[in-house]
Amino acid sequence: MCPHTASCPLFPRFTLQSALKIWQMKYCEADYKRCARYQLSLSGQPVPNGLLPNGQLLKLRAPGG
């Protein structure tokens, strides 16, 4: 299990939303060293909230758009 789950803002969303649990299974519980968030935090860099474990940034749509 990834040691950063307590501070990761995405982990609670992965655990509580069944459609998102696959992230938890593939990264947080399995191969967390592959997670882009984990790798970036180890380098001492700030981790954007919207950075996904696969390295993609979450594309938030502007409100109303």
Partner: protein
Amino acid sequence: MWFLPWWAGALALGTICVGYFWLTRQTMGVSGSLYRALDWRVSRAGDRDREAFEADPAAVEAALLEATRAEFGDDAAPPPVSPPPAAAPPPPSLSLGVHVTFLGAIFAGSLATAWLRGALHVHRDLGDEFGRLVAHGGRAWLVLAAGGVLVGFGTRLAGGCTSGHGLSGCGRLQPGSLVATAIFFGCAVAISLALGALA
């Protein structure tokens, strides 16, 4: 030198650790706060990033579902037939202002304590004991500065200092913090004894 009784110090530090967590839902760490305050540009960018992320939870949920389908296919994240349950709020990350306030409170508390004890004076030396064990005059300040650099390097390398590992981490029985505290306290005791023997 006058110190608080051990039980009063323990009670005060325990109260501060628990109180900090109760107020912020984060564990206390002075070096982490100092790092955030010194790297204020990055901290501000982080604040803006967090605000954008927390502004519209529904948009975040929708974007996450879309990203999940793009990564794992429709089978992994079928489109919901009913609105998904609201996810638990993520653990809050602290803003730059919280870190600056925390550090300012430590400085103000130190000043107030020294003033109350009648010990608030400007010193040009580091005291007889430091001079006996380490160095006198300008050399003492150089040694102190070099020690500060090494402590700063060590805390970044270890991911915490006496407050983050020693108080918050050990209090939560974190294995990494127990090891880190054992190492830096062990080294401090050994070096103090060695300096005392050599002086």
